[in-house]
């Protein structure tokens, strides 16, 4: 019930939440000369590198779906939201410590605003995918109508859950930031970003992969661009359940550590 209360408080304060999201974006785009270009340049360069390494040197283009570069861009952009969101929410409370200590807002707001600001950046980068789709004459699938919103919501909830847990723990254990950085790097290769989940030989292995919620999220995004394959819906379904569990655990942990965290800030 307490969790519902917190959720309602956040909804009541949505104007302030919006203000913080806009502030983050403003700072992001006004403090660098290239601004918006970075939003798309960074993931594009990464996609290009993966394309060279895995598409040419290893000739692993069979491991993805053609056109491989489009396949990569979708995965890399989604991963960038996840990666950036988790990294930034880890520091969420410390970064805004002065505000946390001087304004009486529901503390979850500092995590949620980062998730939304990073999500907005992800939306801003979607035109890149559209350009690639035009270049390769790939029209969006009908699944897009619901798979895209589902993926966006699922990913936002996932990052919020992880961010709530990590932001609180990091205040108490400062080393956490380094641990998170390493884990994210490992998780990148355990998530089907540069390869497709289809390359796994057994349905059972695919289900194991789906326990990593980003597998399902990226699968949903890819359904928007590539016609759906013989794979059923249980990969996104498993990921959705895991996401929900992570969210509930993260919120509970945040609430539990809150008094101690406020003393340490």
């Amino acid at each position: 019930m307490l969790m519902l209360d917190r959720g309602r408080e956040l909804v009541e304060r949505r104007r302030i939440l919006w203000l913080l999201v806009v502030r983050d974006l403003k700072v992001r785009y006004s403090s660098s000369a290239l601004g918006y270009v970075w939003t798309i340049l960074d993931p594009l360069m990464m996609a290009l590198v993966y394309w060279l390494v895995f598409g040419f040197i290893f000739d692993g283009s069979k491991r993805g779906i053609q056109p491989y570069i489009l396949f990569l861009v979708v995965g890399v952009l989604a991963w960038q939201w996840f990666n950036g969101g988790v990294m930034d929410t880890t520091r969420a409370l410390q970064q805004e410590s002065k505000l946390v200590r001087s304004t009486n807002l529901p503390r979850e707001i500092w995590v949620v605003k980062i998730v939304l600001a990073k999500g907005a950046e992800f939306l801003f980068s979607l035109p890149v995918i559209v350009l690639f789709m035009i270049r390769y004459r790939t029209p969006p699938t009908w699944d897009t109508l619901w798979a895209l919103p589902a993926a966006l919501v699922l990913q936002a909830v996932l990052i919020t859950g992880i961010g709530l847990a990590l932001s609180a723990v990091t205040v108490l254990v400062t080393d956490m930031q380094r641990v998170v950085r390493i884990l994210l790097r490992v998780l990148f290769y355990l998530t089907p970003v540069v390869y497709s989940i289809h390359v796994l030989p057994h349905a059972f292995l695919r289900d194991v992969m789906a326990v990593n919620p980003m597998t399902g999220v990226i699968d949903l995004y890819r359904r928007c661009v590539f016609p759906s394959t013989e794979l059923g819906w249980h990969v996104p379904a498993i990921s959705a359940v895991v996401t929900l569990v992570i969210f509930l655990l993260g919120s509970a942990l945040f609430r539990r550590l809150e008094p101690a965290v406020l003393k340490e800030l």
Partner: protein
């Protein structure tokens, strides 16, 4: 026993004292052990090294009714600022409860909401918004804020180019234009140059005259007597005296004389 809690109800919904503090206690770690025992906390919900803790506030109870000016008196580290933070709801108690029945304007960490990369204009909208004003309300008060802080010719300068005194001035100007009936002040008046300090005093007096409730932390006898009618003297986290500002201050002076005389 009651669950430790901080409640801030919407303005005008309940009767009774504006601020109600009951058996309030908060425990801090003396050393950095807490950071090591986090794993323990996760599994047991508490840390097992009680030796390294102390109570910054212990069994504190008092009521503040509407329109009262209350000064918190005491030596450094006696828990004044912690108490103010608990009332503001930016810290959570370990025991007891704090109930605040009206909106709060906290003059704590005044420049905390400002961002160096944005202009003063953006920062005013932002900070006022964080404290609950809508865009229209800020527009209405914008000139008042700017004139009070005397920053009109620098409105479009990035905030990090402001001197620290000017930053505090702007912070003070924004927070005191909020309509909240309860004002919490944590020694912010000591900053700023002489002319501006006088201006702050006048603004504070106006606010008190308008019937706002004030909770005030200061070491300055002059300021305390100017704004407060009642004083609460804290010693090592416990309320030693609660009464007229004169008497409470006398008790504090007597104690500190005794301590330095030893």
């Amino acid at each position: 026993m009651a669950v430790p809690s901080t409640t801030q109800t919407a303005p005008g919904t309940a009767e009774g004292p504006v601020i109600e503090v009951r058996n309030l206690g908060i425990e801090f770690q003396q050393n950095r052990k807490r950071r090591l025992s986090v794993r323990e906390m996760l599994f047991t919900g508490r840390s097992s090294s009680p030796a390294g803790t102390f109570w910054a506030l212990k069994d504190v109870s008092f009521d503040v009714s509407a329109g009262e000016g209350v000064g918190l008196i005491g030596a450094n580290g006696c828990g004044k600022s912690t108490l103010l933070r608990l009332v503001a709801g930016v810290m959570l108690p370990d025991t007891g409860t704090v109930t605040v029945r009206q909106g709060v304007a906290p003059l704590i960490e005044l420049t905390g909401g400002f961002l160096g990369d944005l202009t003063a204009r953006d920062n005013i909208y932002l900070t006022a918004g964080l404290h609950g004003l809508s865009r229209e309300q800020v527009e209405e008060r914008f000139d008042e804020i700017v004139d009070f802080a005397e920053v009109r010719d620098r409105l479009d300068t990035p905030f990090r180019h402001y001197s620290s005194g000017m930053q505090v001035r702007l912070g003070f100007a924004v927070v005191t234009t909020l309509d909240e009936p309860v004002i919490l002040v944590d020694e912010v008046l000591a900053v700023g140059d002489r002319a501006f300090r006088e201006k702050c005093y006048t603004r504070m007096e106006e606010l008190i005259g308008a019937g706002r409730t004030l909770l005030f932390v200061s070491h300055s006898e002059k300021d305390l007597k100017r704004f407060c009618t009642r004083g609460i003297y804290l010693r090592k986290g416990e309320v030693v005296a609660d009464g007229g500002i004169e008497e409470s201050f006398k008790a504090y002076v007597k104690d500190s004389d005794k301590a330095s005389g030893k």
